[in-house]
């Protein structure tokens, strides 16, 4: 393509937007509204997921060992557990440590426990506290650990695992459904708006074709127009969401003091790592596809 043709295409793309400013504005508003809604939902879903994930990580399973198991054997079992992909982290508590913690918890600084002195009543209580990164895999992991040698008992909270697993699934399904619905609605609205704008220019496209313009030559300014509208339509809600998100987090934390320290909202930059490519991709993609398919209809002359 000649530089003059590229320059012409660029100029036409911008001219089209200016010439049909009402249509351009309608397109940008529609796109911005849809991406704004997707953005809000994306932020909510991410935060709910992150909170659920944090709770998951706080529910450990505890692994106890057979009487007489040596430190080396315990470490070997630990290494086998650690190698599992669903294990986020694990803490080892020796029998002495377990007794110390117990004493601290139930007797405090009193001397009541002194009677046991060198005779540790929790002698067989060396244990691993295993934290998972995906609580739905708890049963699977417990079965695996129980199959290992020297393991006497594995304590787990089946109820917590099931409840959290269900919440995770529910949030995922709802988020997929809502984002899917929003996408379908936005594509429908935008293709309608774009086709309205292009049908106004049907005659112009026809003239171009009669005098020997290739499909690409006719289409390029429209595609460029779609991309520009897409970028603007995505940039507006992304900027708005940036300020809105921080204000919303601040509002929730001041209004509901009780949540401070319990609920950690994801920082905005972390949300935007996913939201910026998603928003721009949606805007540009919808603008591009909308222009592509609607021009195609009018190019067969």
């Amino acid at each position: 393509m000649r530089p003059s043709t590229i320059w012409y295409t660029l100029k036409q793309g911008f001219k089209n937007i200016k010439r049909n400013w009402m249509f351009s504005l309608a397109c940008i508003i529609t796109m911005a509204a849809c991406i704004f809604l997707v953005g809000i939902f994306y932020s909510i879903v991410n935060n709910v997921n992150s909170i659920a994930h944090k709770v998951e990580e706080e529910v450990p399973i505890t692994v106890f060992f057979d009487e007489g198991t040596t430190e080396e054997e315990i470490q070997a079992v630990g290494a086998a557990i650690q190698a599992r992909p669903e294990v986020a982290r694990m803490d080892y508590q020796s029998a002495d440590q377990a007794w110390e913690d117990y004493k601290q918890k139930y007797f405090g600084d009193e001397d009541a426990a002194d009677g046991f002195k060198d005779d540790n009543p929790l002698a067989n209580s060396s244990n691993y506290q295993v934290y998972l990164n995906d609580i739905t895999k708890q049963t699977e992991l417990v079965n695996y650990i129980q199959s290992l040698d020297h393991v006497r008992k594995v304590n787990q909270s089946e109820q917590a695992s099931k409840t959290l697993g269900s919440i995770n699934k529910l949030v995922s399904y709802i988020s997929i459904a809502v984002i899917g619905i929003l996408l379908v609605i936005s594509i429908f609205l935008i293709s309608n708006t774009v086709s309205m704008g292009i049908s106004v220019r049907k005659e112009e496209i026809g003239i171009m074709k009669y005098i020997g313009a290739t499909d690409a030559f006719v289409r390029l300014p429209f595609l460029l127009e779609g991309i520009i509208l897409g970028v603007i339509g995505a940039a507006i809600p992304l900027v708005c969401l940036f300020f809105l998100y921080n204000s919303a987090v601040e509002f929730v934390l001041t209004k509901f003091n009780v949540l401070t320290g319990i609920v950690d909202f994801i920082p905005i930059w972390q949300i935007y790592e996913g939201l910026i490519p998603m928003g721009l991709g949606l805007g540009v993609g919808i603008g591009l596809l909308g222009s592509f398919f609607t021009t195609r209809k009018h190019l067969r002359v």
Binding site: M1, R2, S4, T5, Y8, R19, E203, E204, G206, I207, M208, K209, Y210, I211, G212, A213, T214, D215, F217, R300, V301
Partner: protein, 227 residues
């Protein structure tokens, strides 16, 4: 230059719009295609422009077989043609210069060539002083001159005109036809579809008459006959 062999075009069941038409036009000829409304003359132009595909027969224009032509080849083929319509079909948001230059941009001519060629062709059609005007600011005759300039700017082999005087008064019609004759004198093949009796009878060119999709007469230096 133009060869139609047993060409038919049907839009559906019923009488075809063009019915077993045979026509041969040599390079540099000036041909009128005449006939009443619905005789098939506009369909004939659309077939030559490859806007429509024939349902039967073969069409060859400048050595290219149209019925076998792929969609992506059509644009390049149309650049060999200059086309003028009854309703001018100018881009209303662009001035005279831009309308004519557009035909050059489409074929990728560099800007310096466009700057030289467009004023030349506007001079030829008598619009040198109006290059900044927009279509709405021009009379019908002037708009048709712009359309002619646009059709000629790429020096086409063939000029196709579909009722070029349909929206013009008799005097302006004569001027436009005189311009077309000049273009023909320079070697361009001209095919004009019209039902303007006065012009056809005055110019004494080859006249092809259509009726119900059939070519019923083909006369050298002919006149307009009602079927």
């Amino acid at each position: 230059m133009i060869d139609l062999v047993d060409v038919s075009k049907s839009y559906g069941p019923g009488l075809p719009a063009v019915n077993h038409a045979n026509l041969h036009v040599d390079k540099g000829e000036f041909v009128f295609v005449v006939g009443s409304s619905g005789s098939g003359k506009s369909t004939l132009i659309k077939l030559l422009m490859k806007e429509l595909d024939s349902t039967n027969g073969t069409i060859t224009v400048s050595g290219e077989r149209l019925e076998k032509m792929k969609h992506r080849r059509v644009a390049k083929y149309r650049r060999k043609l200059g086309v003028v319509f009854q309703d001018f079909r100018l881009l209303k948001d662009r001035n005279v210069y831009e309308n004519v230059a557009f035909a050059q941009r489409v074929i990728g001519r560099p800007t310096r060539v466009i700057r030289k060629r467009v004023p030349e062709v506007l001079q030829e059609v008598g619009l040198a002083g109006k290059y900044k005007a927009y279509p709405d600011e021009l009379s019908g005759g002037e708009q048709q001159r712009v359309a002619l300039a646009r059709a000629l700017v790429n020096r086409p082999d063939i000029l196709l005109a579909d009722e070029p005087t349909g929206n013009l008064d008799p005097k302006t019609s004569e001027e436009i036809m005189a311009l077309m004759e000049q273009i023909n004198d320079r070697g361009t093949t001209v095919l004009v579809v019209t039902h303007n009796k006065d012009i056809v009878n005055a110019m004494r060119k080859r006249v092809v008459t259509m009726h119900n999709g059939k070519i019923i007469s083909d006369e050298k230096e002919g006149g307009y006959h009602e079927a």
